[in-house]
């Protein structure tokens, strides 16, 4: 297993070094925020998730030991779990608020405008979205992404291919993609 580039920094954070804390925030906040924003499609919620992720980092930094995953993979896993909690809560809210009679009129935000990649990404299965975000936007290698998702590389490739196909279908349907 190759060396973890964050290991020494995390050790210093665990020892309470303020300079290390600043470096870690500067290094990881953009990554965590972009992951959460693309997973949730909501900037405010993404900021909340980023804050919660860092609270967990501060709590675990002094006892963090590298097991099978790098520190970067671990924080990605933490962020994804927090995103899933929020996605689950959203689903529960929608289910609870579901009206008994369905109104056939179009929704107020439904428009004829193309919806774009941002909305298309929110429309595909969360697991496929996760895989695309890790490999495409977070620039993880296939091995790192598979380790973060705790699946095999073959399963990752299958998620990626299905996710990209689903995106293309949505974009073609919405007239954004040929």
């Amino acid at each position: 297993m190759s060396a973890d580039p964050d290991e020494e920094l995390v050790r210093r954070v665990g020892a309470g070094d303020p300079a290390a804390v600043q470096t870690l925030v500067a290094r990881k906040l953009p990554r965590i925020l972009s992951l959460a924003a693309r997973m949730l499609g909501d900037a405010a919620e993404a900021e909340d998730v980023a804050q919660e992720t860092f609270v967990r980092i501060w709590r675990h930094a002094s006892s963090w030991r590298r097991g099978n995953a790098r520190f970067d993979s671990w924080i990605h896993r933490v962020t994804l779990n927090l995103c899933y909690d929020r996605l689950r809560r959203r689903r529960e809210l929608v289910t609870d608020d579901l009206p008994e009679m369905v109104d056939p009129a179009p929704l107020p935000d439904a428009s004829e405008e193309p919806r774009g990649i941002e909305q298309a990404l929110q429309s595909i299965a969360p697991r496929q979205r996760e895989a695309i975000i890790l490999v495409y936007y977070q620039e993880m290698s296939n091995i790192e992404a598979a380790a973060t998702l705790e699946i095999s590389v073959d399963a990752l490739e299958s998620l990626l291919a299905r996710g990209r196909r689903a995106l293309q279908m949505i974009l073609v349907r919405d007239g954004v993609h040929d």
């Binding site: 309470g16 925030v25 925020l33 860092f54 501060w58 002094s62 990649i117 495409y136």
Partner: protein, 138 residues
């Protein structure tokens, strides 16, 4: 690498070979110059261009500062906890020393013998209060 595998990789990782599995990149690179390879990469590249268009704003200063404040609070709390644990540890060591000392004194000091023993539970200060049993009476 054949066209089938090349297409499968493009379908999963897109048209940029830098995202492809490292072990297959060299073979893929050779195939990419073929006409079929070019067509596959062009098709995958259309979606890549759209994905590229979805940018996320850099974290603002307010969020950055909030996270640093949380870190600072957490470090202060941890230092306090450490101080309390140290205090508790010292108190524990002191208590253990006292118990060990007491045990040592108990073991080492010889038992003090009283001047006389009460041999009979029926004995009083006036003498034995038990029934008088004379051997002849039995």
């Amino acid at each position: 690498m054949d066209a089938r595998r090349f297409a499968a990789l493009a379908e999963a990782y897109g048209g940029d070979l830098r995202r492809w599995p490292q072990a297959e990149r060299a073979a893929a690179s050779s195939f990419a110059s073929s006409e079929t390879g070019q067509a596959i990469l062009r098709h995958a590249g259309t979606l890549d261009a759209m994905l590229d268009g979805y940018g996320i704003r850099h974290p603002g200063k307010a969020l950055h500062d909030t996270i640093l404040r949380t870190a600072n609070r957490h470090m202060v709390r941890r230092r306090r906890q450490r101080f309390w644990w140290l205090g508790l540890g010292l108190a524990g060591i002191g208590l253990a020393g006292a118990v060990a000392g007491l045990a040592l004194v108990t073991v080492v000091t010889p038992e003090v013998q009283p001047d006389h023993y009460v041999l009979d539970a029926n004995a009083t200060s006036f003498g034995d209060a038990g029934p008088d049993t004379i051997e002849e009476d039995l």
